[in-house]
Structures are given as structure tokens and as C-alpha cells.
Amino acid sequence: MALYWLPLLPLIGFLLLIVGGRWFSGTSGGWLGSGFIGAAFVVALVRFFGLSDVPAHETLWTWLPNMALGTGGVSANLNVGFYLDQLSSVMTLVITGVGFLIHVYSISYMREDARFTRFFALLNFFVAMMLILVLADSYPLMFVGWEGVGMASYLLIGFWFAGHKDHNAADGVNNSNAARKAFIMNRIGDLGFMLGMFLIYKVFGTLVIPELAGQEGTLAVTSRPLIELICLFLLVGAVGKSGQLPLTTWLPDAMAGPTPVSALIHAATMVTAGVYLIARSNFFYDLAPGASMWVAWAGGLTALYGALSALNQTDIKKILAYSTVSQLGYMFLAVGLHSYTAAIFHLVTHAFFKALLFLAAGAVIHALHEEQDVRKMGGLAKSMPFTHIVSLIGVLAISGIPIFAGFFSKDGILASAFAQNIPLYLIGLFVAFLTAFYMGRWYFLVWRGEYRGDTKLHPHDGDAVLSAPLGILAALATVGGFLNVPSFLGGGHVLDNFLGRAIPVHEHEILASTEWLATLIAVAVALAGLGWAFYEHRRRALQVGPLGQFSFQALYLDRLYTAVVGNGSKVISRGLDTVDNGVDGAMNGIVSNVGAPGWLVTIWQSGFVRAYALSMLLGTALIVGYWALKAIGGGL
């Protein structure tokens, strides 16, 4: 199977569903859309098992002028081409696999929606773009997927642009604003990405990733500040897409979209594109210690920011959203420390457990008829036992409790931080503690205690279509960690070794005993966090989390942006509009001054025939008089 089938299958699904939306009645559109993703998953599996040490590189057709290496001093045109190595193969599996599960889940979740088929069309479009992103063999093509997923994210966040269910006007405005905010903040990042590409082209004369990676000689002699600058530019792009500081505020707002969207796009796949970008550009970052430090610190601080903001949220999805921000921070921390494989490992496990948590939250929201406030939940473990169990697995996984997936992946990141940068390690540890607490808070508020909501509702587990993906994801969140068991625990670093065939793995010299200690500390911290949450739960003080408004307003960052950037640009825009009228006015002024002599002429155009005749006479007299004078002069 050629690589282009991977994005092509979802694209066909998209086209079928968007053009022929009315041909598919009931849930058939959903099944069709899921089927295309499933088929793509099969292709991804086939290609995964067909992988060798030589990456597959398949080019298709000419696309952009002059952006690849050519011969004889003339640069060649850039082709659309796909590139599959171990890194992109893992990504395709996650995208199509998790994507397929979420598609199936959505068939049940979105059943009541009037634009059911449209929803699947957009989801398919998203998957196609995400696959282009990870399979791209050049930065511009990756940028296609990069903006494509942004576009899909825009459309899906704004899916309920006219408000959900009852066409609530304020709801519609909120959803639309959230979508726009996501797109614009992504665009800011994209400009950084573009500038990075421009600089890469300027230095290396090509934008094809294998060509760039193959230029070890040139890379080695290129001046370090230039490479640092390239890495910083790319970091801006990655920060925008992955919702890291300072471009983080769009991600929590993006929860305005339907829950499967939050699970697929804003937790499992799209937001990890930044991590992928940096991992893909490892040949640059390995040479740029300064920029890598920036990446690591951006990740560390974002992890902290997300965790602090999650402490006192009341929306069931917002808690998970800030948690995503925080977990993405972990991944950035890892890639910043050149532990690419650890980051990708966490990316994979995070995709499992965070998708699981979001889908479980979706099931709750569904069961409670669009109720999203955790203060109005509680005690649901009794009425929704299956969803409760899978949620518990998700919470344990994200908190880093042993044998669950999050334990192994987070431990890998903390271990590499411990080996390289102690302050970042401490931050990571603290965040792990906070993570355990706020996830514990989420769990206890939703599932334990007494039901505090509308008593007329009778929540119950979803149907089989809704539950099956939850079960599979729960299983993956449980065992996913065994993909990459570290050696001191008797594992073989399977994933590390697999990925190591494509991207560099930097071994850290840590004594097994130290590593044991670090792991124990991490587990202890996680248990402490959960314990604290349990303690607060017993005190019935969980509804108001720590830090109060400071946390609830997400450290006031969003307000700051709105006040400074949002309003600022509006004011400037109005100002420029006025200035433009001024430019117009100035031009008019010049014109009227130039036209002033023309006004004098109009006096003569009085409309009196005799005045015109006089002009003729004077003109004739002048000419004839001139002749006469000449004749006299000639005659004399």
C-alpha cells in the first residue's frame, strides 16, 4: 500500500460526506466515516510491519518553486512527498487508532445532532490533515497539515456556532469566539514556523527534511547562532500549536467544541504536533543547546501553569483541558532535554488516557443532559458503573500510579530531567503532585459522594457503541506503559529501541539505585496528591479548590491578553482606519490644490456665447497678427 493511501482514505471520506451529506441517512454517515479511518488504520498497520531501517520516501508531484536541492546551482522544485520512518509510523498508528475509536464513540455521542454527517466529514478531514502533517517529507508539506489541522480544529470548535441544542445566541457567540481565538493564536505560532522555514531555506537551500538531515557536513559547519535561531522560530510554531506558554489560552477555550473533538484534537493528536515537530527536527535541536533549554523551560513552566490552573476549575472538561496543557508541558520538557523517545512515549500514553478521560467525561455530560459543572455531579459511580471504572483507570494512569501507562512514561521524563536539570526535575515532581491532586478532585467530585445535581435526571451508562471505545482505551491506558519498560525494572526499552532506528536516543548515566529512588519518590508524590484529594473529599471541601480565583481565572493570563493584545489591536485598527481616511483626505487636499487653477478657467466657461466668440477672436487675432508681423519682418 502506497503511503498516500493513508491521508487519501480519510480525504475520500471527507469528500463523500461533505458533498453527499444528504445521501447518508441516520448514522450511516458516521459508520462510513469511521470505516475510512479504520481502513487507514489498517494501512498504517501494514506499513508499520513493513518498516525497515531505511525510511520509506515516496514523492508524488511538483508543488512549490525552487525549494529543494537541485543540481548545477539551480534549485529544484519541491515535490509533494511522504516519508515514513519509525517516528511517523508510531504517530500514524496513534492517530488512526485513537481516531478510529473516537469516531466510533461519536456515532453514539452525536446521534441526536442535526448535522451528524457534517461532523464526521470534518473529523475525517482532520484525520487526513493530521496524517499529512506526520507523513510530510518537507516542512512546507508539514505546514499544510499543520494549518489543515488548525482549520479542522477551527471548524470543529465552532461546530455549534449557533449554540448547542436550543440555538442559544450567547452560546453561539462564545463558541465562535473560541474557534476564532484558536485559529488566530495558531496563526501566531505559524508565523514563527514560517520564519523558521525561511531561515532554513536561506541557510541550507532546501526544505526537504531528509535532505536537511542528510547534510551533517553543512550542519556541522553552520554557525551555531543561526541554528539556535532556526530552533527558536520552530519553537514558536510548536508553542502555538501545542498550547504552551505564552500561546496557551486558546486550548482551554477550545473545549467549546463537542467532546469527541476535545478528545481527538485537543488532547490526543493535534496539540501534540508541536512535540512531533521538535522531535522531527532533532538534527537541529541536537546542535542548539540554548534553544533546547528554551523548549524545556517553556514545557516546564507550562506544565506548572496548567496544573495550577486546573486546581480550581468547575467545568468537567476544563479540568481535563488544563491537565492537557500541563501534560503537553511534560512532553516539551522532554524534547527540550533531547529525550525525544521519552516525549513520544508520553505522547502515546497520554493519547490513550487523556482520550479515555475526555470520552468518559463526554459520557457523563451526555448522561446528565449537557451538565458540565462538577459541583452539580457526584455519586455517579453507582448509576454509571462501567464509565466509573474506566475513568478510575484514566485517573490512575495520569497520576502515575504503577503499572498504569502514565507511570512509565512520566517516569521516563522525570528520570531524564533528574539526570540533566535539577530545577526542571523539581518542577516536574511538583506538577506530578498537583496532577494527582486535581485528577483526584475530578474523580471524587464526579464519581463519589452524593449526587448534587438535578434529581429529575436518571444517568446511566452509554450504549455499546459508546462504551466499546472506552473499554479499549481503558485497556490501552492500563497496559500501554509496557511498551517501554525501563531496564532497571527489567524491561527492554522496546519503544526506545524501535524509535532509536529513526531518531537519536541519548542515554543517561544514572545508577539503577538512584533510578529506583527517583521512581519511588515519584510514586510517593502521586499517592500524596491523591491522598490529599481524598482528605479534602472527606472534609467535603473539594468543591472549592486551592488558590481560588487565581486558579479559576487561569492565572489571569487570558484576561491580560484580551486587555492588551485583543483590545489593543482593535484600537490600532480603528486608528489606522481613521489614518486611512486621513491619507485619503490628504490626497484629496493635494488634488484640490492642484485643481485650483482649473477653477480659474471655469470662470471663463461662463456659458455666454459671446465670451467664447471673443476667445476665438482673440486667438485668431493673435495668430494672424503673428503672421502679419512675420510678413513685415520678412518684407523689410
Binding site: 455666454f608 477672436l617 485668431t620 487675432a621 494672424v624 510678413a631 518684407g635
Partner: protein, 184 residues
């Protein structure tokens, strides 16, 4: 030479009368005088048929038309209201003087291309026969064009002066319809 001087003097006097007297009838009479004197000049220039035509058509027919219109419109009253262009008269005087002087100067730089006696003979005294021959051979196309022009002018002037016919509106004359009905 004497004839020429007398005739030209009278021509100019007629012209001055034409443009200066206030009464339109008097002015047109001055013009008639000028036209007659010009006819005389034509005669001295060996254009006898032209001189006759000038008297008959111009001094006769055209001027009668003028007088007729002047009488019809009662236009021999001078204009009384204030002149909106007071600067025209002096400027016109100056311009006219320059023009006249310039023409005169240019005229006297003109040398006859061949002896006048010789060329005068070729004119055959401007008799109707040779003139008609020229008109209907070399000038046939302009001649026909002018004929059409004249026809158009006649039709045009009739059309211009004609008052729109008042049309009977049946609705304002209810009697008419009733009468018809009675006849039926």
C-alpha cells in the same frame, strides 16, 4: 480705381451701420447697402453672374426673410437690461482692430501670380454659361450635397417652427363618445 474706392467706402459705411445702429430694421437696411456694394465689387472683378445672384438672392430674398422675422418677433427694440459682459466691447474693438490691421498687412504682401489682364480674360467675364459648366462638372458632388442640405434646412426650419398639434383627448370630451354611441 475710383470705382473700387467708392464702392469699398460705401461697403464699409454699410457695414458700420449694420453693426452700430440700435434699431434692427435700420441695421438690416445697412446690410442691404453693403450687399449691394459687394455686388458692385463682384462686377468689377469680372463676376457678372455672381453679382446678379448677390443682388437677387442675398440683397433680395435673404434680407426680406430677415426683415420678416424682425417684424414678426418685434425684435427691433434694442436690448435694455444690463450687459453681463462689459469687458467684451473694448476687447472686441482691440481684437478686431488687430485682426483688420493684420489682414490688411498680409493682403499687401500678396503678389498677383500672373498679370491681371491675362487672368481676367480666362474668366470669360463670369458669364452664366462657363460658371454653370464648372458647377455641374467639377463641383457636381458638392452641388448635390448642398442641394440636399438646402432641402434638409427647409424641412428642418419647418419642423422647428411648427407648434405641436393639440390632440383631442377623448376623456375630456365625454360628449364625443356618447355621440358615437348614439350613432351606433
Amino acid at each position: 480705381m475710383i470705382t473700387f474706392l467708392v464702392l469699398s467706402l460705401l461697403t464699409l459705411v454699410g457695414g458700420i451701420i449694420t453693426i452700430s445702429v440700435r434699431n434692427a430694421v435700420h441695421a438690416s437696411l445697412g446690410l442691404v447697402g453693403t450687399l449691394l456694394m459687394v455686388a458692385g465689387l463682384y462686377a468689377t472683378l469680372n463676376a457678372s453672374f455672381l453679382a446678379a445672384t448677390q443682388v437677387i438672392v442675398y440683397a433680395g430674398a435673404v434680407m426680406v426673410l430677415f426683415l420678416f422675422v424682425i417684424m414678426l418677433l418685434d425684435a427691433n427694440r434694442p436690448v435694455e437690461d444690463a450687459n453681463p459682459l462689459p469687458f467684451i466691447a473694448p476687447l472686441a474693438g482691440v481684437g478686431g482692430a488687430i485682426l483688420a490691421g493684420a489682414f490688411a498687412i498680409l493682403a499687401f504682401t500678396y503678389k498677383d501670380p500672373r498679370p491681371l489682364a491675362e487672368s481676367t480674360a480666362a474668366l470669360a467675364n463670369g458669364a452664366p454659361g462657363p460658371v454653370g459648366e464648372t458647377l455641374l462638372t467639377r463641383f457636381l458632388l458638392p452641388f448635390e450635397a448642398v442641394s440636399i442640405l438646402l432641402l434638409v434646412a427647409v424641412v428642418g426650419s419647418v419642423a422647428l417652427v411648427q407648434r405641436p398639434a393639440v390632440q383631442a383627448d377623448p376623456q375630456t370630451q365625454p360628449g364625443a363618445a356618447r355621440l358615437e354611441g348614439e350613432v351606433a
